[in-house]
């Protein structure tokens, strides 16, 4: 019997959120688990907010995480982390990329972007644990800015909470990318993994 485990990814169109959920879903199935999930496509690809949901477990039926039942919330960008905070369970963890993506509404003066401290204060008040990392910096270190989403995926596994084997997800990452860029992505995964493993200790 696989226990219910709910992951919510919140980000911005173009950040590779959908790819992350595909890798998670395939890996869960490879490990013999059932997967449910959902995403909002369409309008979201034009720079809007994107959420993707992956739910693992034998007793999971619906495509959406019930509010209050999210085990790990991945904020691919600070404000998108906060935007989805109401889904967290009391013991839920947040993995937050601290590099903001400022929407054009801020440049136009129609809205303002909160400080990281404001966001962390709110998240800390509701989450069991908040792990922060600068995914862009780690992605650069790995060899490509484009691998920031894989850094975040590594950080998700570094928590040690997931029912999916680390070797399985790494195989999925390896298989998903052309041989030329696969090592960069594996390195990105490892860097993210280490950060959250350290933070979890």
């Amino acid at each position: 019997m696989v226990k219910e485990f709910n992951i919510l990814l919140g980000g911005v169109g173009g950040q590779g959120v959908i790819l992350m959920s595909e890798l998670l879903g395939r890996s869960a199935i490879a490990d013999g688990m059932r997967v449910r999930g959902s995403e909002i496509l369409g309008m979201a690809v034009r720079g809007g907010s994107v959420t993707s949901i992956i739910r693992i477990g034998d007793d999971v039926y619906g495509p959406l995480i019930p509010q209050g039942k999210c085990d790990v919330l991945i904020g691919m960008e600070p404000s998108e982390g906060l935007r989805n905070a109401s889904y967290l369970s009391r013991s839920g963890s947040v993995i937050l990329n601290t590099t903001p993506i400022i929407p054009f509404t801020v440049s136009l003066g129609q809205s303002s972007y909160p400080s990281l401290d404001q966001i962390l204060e709110k998240l800390n008040s509701v989450a069991g644990k908040v792990i922060t990392l600068n995914a862009a910096e780690l992605a650069k270190e790995a060899g490509s800015l484009l691998s920031a989403n894989i850094v975040m995926l590594g950080a998700l596994f570094g928590t040690g909470l997931l029912p999916i084997k680390v070797s399985t997800i790494k195989e999925s990452v390896q298989a998903r990318f052309p041989a030329k860029v696969a090592p960069v992505n594996i390195k990105a995964f490892d860097l993210g993994y280490q950060v959250s493993q350290q933070a979890t200790k």
Partner: protein, 632 residues
Amino acid sequence: MKELTISSDAPGERLFVLGNEAIARGAIEAGVQVAAAYPGTPSSEILETLASVAKELGIYVEWSVNEKTAFEVALGASICGVRAMASMKHVGLNVAHDPVMTASHIGAKGGFVLVVADDPWAWSSQNEQDTRYVAEQGYIPILEPSSLQEAKDMMADAFKLSEQFGHMFMFRSVTRIGHGRSDIILGPISRERRKGSFKKNPSWLVYVPRTARINKPLMLQRFEAIKKAANTLPYNELRLVDGARLGIIACGLSYSYALEAVKWLGLENKVSILKIGTPHPLPEELVITLLKSVKEVLVVEELDPFVELHVKAIAGEHNIKVKIHGKDMVPRIGELSTRRVTEAVAKLTKSKLPVDFAALDKLEQDSGPLLPARPPALCPGCPHRGSFHAITAAARRVARELGEGVEPIYPSDIGCYTLALNPPQQAVDTTICMGASFGLACGMARVVEAPIIAHLGDSTFFHAGIPPLINAVYNKANITMIVLDNSATAMTGFQPHPGTGYTATGEETASLKAEDVARACGVKFVEVVNPFDLKAATETIERAIRFPGPAVVVSRGLCAMIELRDKKKAGVKVVPYHIDQGKCSPKCETCIKLLGCPAIIKQGDKKIIDASQCTGCGVCAQVCPYKAIIQE
């Protein structure tokens, strides 16, 4: 081992899929031979998936010019004895409504399935209408899945049921089915390929009044037979709990929420559940059994109280005394969720809520003011940005001459360009349905003294823009019609259309040009402009607005996403622009205020261009009064 794909004939294997892929897989397993559609979120990936395996599996797949034609293509194939399907979004069904209503009199020879995707909460739509009423109007049975596995299985069965009863079946999806993800267990793929044949039979196929009178009773008979069979179809399932006070009737995807809610509240042994997979016709015997066994019933369904009203009718007809709840307990607007159903069930069973939802709502309310608005926007490099700059500049110039306070009117349409509703463009005054921009403009021109500049995209033009264009010519409407031609059905995922020169399966074909169509329809002013050349585009559009009578301007620039993809493939480097801070004035925000390009970012008083987003389109350089924006 060969990697498992959507076309693998590997019964029993598990594949991780998108819901629309599951629907396509069901059709593949059934041996569908003809599939037609017009793109529309959340249905587009069904046909895209079929197109990707069409040649391999010997399926004919097409993007039709609109949903009406797609439906007719599928109907034509079914009449000739071949399994066929048409897929569309809910509002697409409105376009196909005319043939659908008579096709149900015809029924089906080859298995015939109409797939319609509803969009509760209107995530990507102009409304959230409930398709089930249309099915009821046409005596069309509906199959509605509760999961992706069931979506695949039902879709495969739909073709068989259609042939068994000689009737068209509707498959109803919703956003969270089509854009859901799950593992599914594959079934065997039918390799049967039939040769179509047409047998003349006017009393079946030629709908003069007599034919309608002959076929309506036959249609009703078929529907009655399906109604009886609904009680034993595996998609309807009654689980009675001894002594249960409450019964839940849950339709389609709502069943998954109901199951989770009941488990969350620990009521598995206290609540009876009737799962509905055929909301029309309902499995009447199962409904009656449930109604007689409980004191109260909660009907759980998304959007309108369709099942609820029919259940109430059944209770009334059979004189069953039971309190029936539905839309008094679960919302009529938007999507349902486990939470919404949990709240309703908790209220009816006087159970304690498993989570303090009010606290979560408060968190959301408190966080709201902190969060920046992040609406979707025209992409960096989008040709529409230049088009709208030119349209509004030209229109304002003409309006000013007409007098104080005269404002140009911009009837718009359905596509990426609808995003110009937002500042800074604000050039979208109406969006109703495909093609309505030109139609509304024809009416406005009769009653308002102002420049009327209607616009729609290239795919929309071919879909529904040509009849109102002809109307404008015929009735001499003094309007300007702009075709924003980015050579793609961009909003739904860059599907090809009659202007692109290739088909759904990648074959080369004729490429129709909007300007040729407009000229052939008798428009006297027809010009093509380049939206990246602001000055020339503005001048031409101004002449079009001043032209007495209908005028057409085609503003042609390739979709930035496609252009970037093509450049990447060809190894052509994008050369971004940057802002010379020595020339840029800290007080000036012309580029931001006029264009709202996501690649131009304000940092304090400083403006910079994000090189990773800039496509090098150069429109910002043309509006900068200080000539401070230069290409690297």
